[in-house]
Amino acid sequence: MKNAGARWRSWLTNRRVDRARWALAIVLLLAAAVLPPVSVYLEGQGMIESARFEIVLGVTSLILALWAVSYNLMLGYAGMVSFAHAAYYGVGAYTVAILLQRYQISYFAALAAAPLVAATVGIITGFVALRAVRLYFSLLTLAISQLLYSVAEGWYSVTGGDNGINGIVTPDQLTDYPTLYYFVAAIVGVSLLLMFVLTRSPFGAALLAIRENRERARSVGINVKAYELAVYTIAALFAGVAGALFPLVQPSVVPSMLFWTENATPVVVTLLGGVGSFLGPGFGAFIFTGLNNSLSRDFPYQLDVLLGAIVLGVVLLVPGGFASVPGLVAQLRRRVVGEGTPSIEAETKGEAIRMIDVARAVEAHAIQSEHIERGRVLLRLEGLSRSFGGLRAVDSVNLEIHEGDRHAIIGPNGAGKSTLFNLITGRTRPSAGRVWFDGRDITGRPAHVVAKAGIGRAFQITMIFPRLTVRQNLQYAMLAHRGRTVQPWGLADRIYRDEAIELLDAVGLGPHADLPAGQLSHGDQRAIELAISLALGSRMILLDEPTAGMSASETRRAMELVRRVATDRNLTLLFCEHDMSVVFGTARTVTVMHQGRILMQGTPEQIRSDPEVQAVYLGELDMDEEEAAPA
């Protein structure tokens, strides 16, 4: 009862902030829609100097809005910081300028061509840039940006070199200011809509998963590089659209548009508007344009100091930008009104695992089951080795895992268990040897391929998507693993929703389904981790110390769940564990590793009584410590 109440309250409060954000978005969109008539009216009233100038600022803001939102597609949705985005904007502008001035093609045809050129440049350079990750990716985009700038600056015969391309004339159809505004607004509007659909789609879900946790994203079957390249290219495409609109307000296209420091504009705009929101950067563009126009007029000498102070203030004090205002207002209101329950509890109590309903979990639709042939070899390792420097972490391991088996790997610290898991799941490439899964050679294949092939994984350290809700964690993992994240339309949050909730309820996470996963206690996060592994519908699951950090009773509960799911839903289990009661209570086969090699393999009984194993452990553990839990 109490949990249901908490869930309801948190849903209600989240809804209120959500509704406020939607209302704000609609109000501002309508405001943008009525800008020309309102400014004409205000000019008539003598309240503003020039309606035409306001409209020009509006057009400038719209173009900047598109540019910034396309930047945020990478930054906010995939966590990529690029220094080359201005270059694609520039490429769009150059394409239009060249087609117009050199080939006398109509503006509208050029407008259609520009995004394609920008996307082409984007995909080629993006392919290079994505050879590196995170910070190094950013630095690589910096180098690429400067290269593209050098090309624009030096290729006289095409780009006009340092002088750029000048004297671009606005097409006759668009010389009227309101018409120009609505034309640009229409193009920007359609582009924003397309990007909005994309972010809500399963494709967008994959991006969010990558942003949250690359490693986890890979292990649920997402080809991280491919998705990053896709979003990089799409962002370049829309930057190209924005760039193609640029010549409507600026008659000259010059190389400095491509210079890396130009990226400061969309980044600052995104920051002002809010990295975490779709439309935030769009409104950030209006704020920025207005602010820049008035400040540069009245405080030209102080502008940089003021702008710097604003950016610094936002970074340090309101990192969510403009879009976080409704949330902040809601928080303030709660504080003032004294409404007790904050929508976001600092941490949950970590009682999910004790609430696990094994019977329901086993029936959950989220878990796929296949017919299996018990006893057939599913995974075969042949002479698998891996050295780090001089150390042979895994040394010529030969191992067969049979379908339907529950196979434990034990051994003292440093025996090579985690490395072995990494070799199987493609996180680490083997120095020698082969990995066969279901008759397929998967040696050294990337993690997402291995995941897709049917090997799921739970990590030793908790690997979840912290800022996504618990439900999304599960849903997006399912989407990814079932190959649906290629779909760039439809609402990701609606797909597999019921299945996810069913499983979450069963594993005791139901009350927290709509909380950001990162806010859950450690124990509850382990439960999410477990639920993700189960929901992937893998034929085989690798669990790396699944009960690390759990209490004895939680451990018993969690392992009962794992065991039952494995038996009833035909899963093959490979796990490593220090807790011998877990090992002997769960495993049918046990393999002992020592110093990277396999010491022995057998039934739990054989292992328990083997003197050599006991010698390895040297009394490190008491084999009879606890009675194994009943199967």
């Binding site: 910070l135 690589l140 180098a143 400067q146 090309v151 102080q302 100091v305």
Partner: protein
């Protein structure tokens, strides 16, 4: 190309490399230990150049150089310490975009403030060391040679600092294994402030050293920043030897690239081609270590 000419252009490249090395080494050190890309590095360089020119001219051009240099380095280091303790402290561990934006904002503020304080005029001062050498028929600036020697000494000094002192050991630990450092009981907060202060001081040193051969105005940091980025990335962020090699490559590529008719237009592009190649093949740079 005869040996005399070759020596001439090679030395020209060395002179470029010298001041770029000093600036890039500071950037690289800060990144290595703090994992922060400091966009305000060029501004610290600029402010130090400005201060050194103003002070040197007040004390009397030439003689005033050394005290002015000291003063400029101290000012840059002090500003660095203030930035670290007031702003960077709050953004450690954040995504690197947050740090980029924070330091970018600081760069804007320093640049704007410098203009408000010093104006937009070009300021010039004289070198303390005048005169030239003639080798194989060509003249060499004595000051440029001194600058090269100074860069080598600074490089050696940094090497000594990093490998012969306790502070250095801790800095190296911060570069290679921050977690271990946390566990070892070192005052990490203080260490980070120290590293950033040293990095800022190096930017200042670079600025003060080139100031006598340049028109100094509030924009001089911009072009240096991007080259310093390129150098520290090519050499490997966090590696002093890397910065030296990177600076040499960039200096020589520019020196020889500009005089060659076929490469003249793209001399600067070459720097970024090298940067792209290094990052794609060895993202952690020629002398850096891959991040765990």
């Amino acid at each position: 190309m005869d040996p005399g000419k070759f020596l001439l252009f090679a030395t020209g490249g060395l002179a470029d490399a010298a001041y770029l090395f000093i600036v890039a080494a500071g950037l690289s050190l800060v990144f290595g230990a703090l994992r922060v890309i400091n966009m305000a590095h060029g501004s610290l360089y600029m402010i130090a150049a400005m201060v050194s020119v103003v002070v040197a001219n007040r004390l009397g051009a030439g003689i005033g150089f050394l005290p002015a240099l000291l003063c400029a380095v101290l000012v840059a280091a002090a500003i660095g310490a203030v930035i670290e303790t007031t702003v960077l402290k709050r953004v450690y561990g954040h995504e690197h975009l947050v740090q980029l934006l924070a330091t970018y904002a600081i760069a804007l503020i320093i640049g704007g403030a410098a203009r408000l304080i010093f104006g937009s005029n070009y300021r010039t001062t004289s070198t303390p060391i005048q005169g030239s050498l003639t080798i194989l028929g060509y003249s060499y600036s004595l000051y440029a040679l001194v600058m090269i020697v100074a860069a080598i000494l600074i490089g050696l000094g940094m090497y000594g600092l990093l490998f012969r002192t306790r502070l250095g050991r801790n800095i190296r630990a911060a570069v290679s294994d921050p977690e271990l450092l946390n566990a070892s009981g070192v005052n990490v907060t203080l260490l980070y402030t120290a590293v950033f202060t040293v990095g800022a001081g190096l930017a200042g040193l670079g600025g003060a050293i080139v100031a006598p051969s340049q028109a100094v105005d509030p924009t001089i940091g911009d072009s240096v920043l991007v080259l310093a980025f390129a150098i520290s990335v090519i050499g490997g962020l966090g590696s002093i030897i890397g910065s030296a090699v990177g600076a040499l490559m960039v200096g020589e590529v520019i020196s020889f690239g500009l005089i060659n008719p076929t490469t003249n237009s793209f001399a600067l592009a070459f720097v970024f081609i090298i940067m792209t190649l290094v990052l794609t093949v060895r993202p952690w740079g020629l002398f850096g270590r891959p991040e765990a």
